[in-house]
Amino acid sequence: MGTSRNVERRTILKVAGASAATLGLGATTACGGDSGSGDGTVTLRYAWWGGEPRTIAIKKTIALFEKKYPKIKIKPEFTDYEAFWEKFQTQASGGNPPDVFQNAVGFLRKYDKRGVLMDLKAQADAGNLSLENFRNGVLANGQVDGKQIGIPVGANTMALVIDLKAFKKAGVEAKFGWTWDEYFDALQTIQDKLKIAGDTGYFSIMYLYDLYLRQNGKAFFTDSDLGFTEDDLTQWWEDGYKRVRSGLVADPKKVEQVKPKSALSAGLAASEFTWDNFSIRYEGEGESDYGLAPIPTTDGKDTGQYLGSLMLSAFSGTKHPKEVAQFIDFMVHDPEVGKIMGYDRGILATTEQYEAFTPTDDNNKGVKAYEEEVAAAGVLGKITPHPSGTDVIEAAFLRLGGEVAQGKTKPADAAKALFSEAKAAFAG
């Protein structure tokens, strides 16, 4: 009897415990960083943004890591891009960001300025993390003021995604080194022959304007300011608006109403500028075939391109810097991880991983061919700085460009607004 009562009580306790656990009530699990338990097991929080394929792949790589380092447990946190940075900001401000997280060039200085990012140099010196074997100098993407605050997992670059069928039908070809004039002429031919717009709205993309400026000896940003004048931007947007009016660029009203689908995959236009590793999106959304084409140039040679990166960063206040470093090291160097991740976050950044993965599908093959072509053309330049506030300015650029396209704001006024919003963003 006594035993049975014991059993009963234990069951009740268990049930109570379980329900408390599911309620998430009695828990400070949020602070995974603190959880060094008795047997020396360490738990690290690892956060990223991305879609389902990325998450499933990353979870596989985590399993590999945990097998190799049984004393380190990884607690994954993932959402979509927008939610990720909102969440990150609130968590980081509370001193409670994840121990390791996916990061992008545009956020490095912002969170470095706020003291959130760990300088991984010390861990590299201690032998917990190797900074060797990074391809094409992308390691520099994670450096700010001599500190290594991000370790690239991949390399990507801007590209022109084109509707292959439309280009073929119109009989136009995208050639390496083509100039903006040639590009717009091609769009004109497409418009004449196929009655669809050529482009979806190039002039609202900050990272494309950056390339255009780089082709002309400037850049979107300097260390702490904008690298162009209000007149430059007014000109850029005036040209853009002219092309909307003439139908060369798709009607912004139509582009808006097919969102969240891209206007390219919706068949409203024949080309769109974006990062090469995002190109998989179009196959998933649209009915046509899509391919990567070169960025137009000013002088017939220089595309102004550079390699950007997604990277892994660590929280400066993590309780387990050594384990964090080991984790990052594994994630960027282990060949198996490279095989699993593929080019989802750009071309793999280290030679070990790059060599381990051979793309088999058309999309990945296309991305690889494109980056090899860009590298071979010798147009890859050094990345220019992305000051704190880059993310806010990118959003403002997109919005103001949209207002210009809709004819709601004059290019000069929009340029003025961008400069004033940028000022606030740099100060923030």
């Binding site: 309620l23 009530l25 389902e52 946190e77 969240p260 689908k261 919706a266 196959e283």
Partner: protein, 291 residues
């Protein structure tokens, strides 16, 4: 619509029949307009994922089941049931919290004469006007400092502390409408306030309580901002957050399963509403919306 259904006069039989037909026609027109978008969503959930965005057709040309069957695989390795369990937990706790705390508070306002009551009542009504956003940031800072983020506590704490002024107000008005004789009789019988509250006022206030429960359930079930800000672990995500995981700004979004899941997510709310909606009007009616 209203003019088409001019109330039939009781005197003439014929006019009554005309009125009846006009009434049904009017009601059906409203019904068609109201349900059209709902039917679109149902139709869309049977379209191939590629065809959903910017699709103009009401119904799919060839219905596919893939969106629903895809749900069985979960999202990013998390079973769909996990999101539903979490949402249910949140909604149920919210209902319990609101019902308990609001009815206690309402009882005090309606049935106990204590010093400072009027001032507190005015303060409570004042909180109705506050935009949620004013409080969001400082509340976040508070719960973060208490290390309670990534739990349900920040989401339901306010419900257990009667911060939902609308429901308190609803119940106060309702309890005031209850016959005074009842609690006076209870007092004579030697019942304290707790007994009066528990065995007399609470059971009698059922319509107002159920009305509050319906609204609370719907609000909690549909809440997006709260879970977005407070929950970090994907296994703890509610349905509204889970839906966002089908989205990928840089890759392929699975709109098909997204819309299928949002449809499935409607079922509990509809069930809850259907089960209790007959109390809704009474709850509102007797809640002092009278003059």
């Amino acid at each position: 619509m209203t003019s088409a259904t001019s109330p039939a006069l009781r005197t003439a039989n014929e006019r009554r029949r005309v009125g009846s037909i006009a009434w049904h026609v009017g009601a059906l027109v409203v019904l068609a307009v109201v349900l059209y978008p709902v039917i679109w969503v149902v139709g869309a959930s049977f379209k191939p994922s590629k065809d959903i965005i910017a699709s103009l057709d009401l119904l799919p040309t060839e219905p596919v089941w893939a969106n629903f069957s895809g749900l069985a695989d979960g999202i990013s390795g998390i079973p769909i049931t996990s999101f539903f369990t979490n949402s249910l937990m949140y909604a149920v706790l919210a209902v319990v919290g609101v019902v308990l705390s609001s009815s206690l508070t309402a009882y005090a306002f309606a049935k106990i004469r204590f010093a400072g009551r009027n001032l507190l009542f005015t303060l409570m009504i004042g909180t109705l006007l506050l935009p949620y956003h004013v409080l969001l940031i400082p509340q976040y800072v508070l719960f973060r400092n208490l290390e309670l983020t990534d739990t349900l506590v920040p989401l339901v704490a306010g419900k257990f502390l009667a911060t939902e002024a609308f429901f308190v107000f609803l119940m106060v008005q309702f309890m005031r409408g209850l016959p005074k004789e009842l609690d006076e009789a209870a007092k004579l019988d030697g019942c304290g306030h707790l007994r009066t509250y528990w065995s007399i006022v609470l059971p009698l206030s059922r319509p107002a309580i159920i009305t509050s429960a319906i609204f609370t359930f719907i609000n909690a079930w549909n809440d997006f901002m709260g879970p977005l800000i407070y929950l970090n672990t994907p296994e703890k995500y509610t349905v509204s957050l889970g839906l966002m995981m089908f989205r990928d700004q840089e890759g392929i979004s699975n709109y098909g399963s997204m819309i299928a899941m949002s449809l499935v997510a409607l079922i509990p709310v509809i069930a809850f509403f259907m089960a209790f909606q007959r109390y809704l009007i009474d709850g509102m009616a007797t809640s002092g919306l009278k003059g």
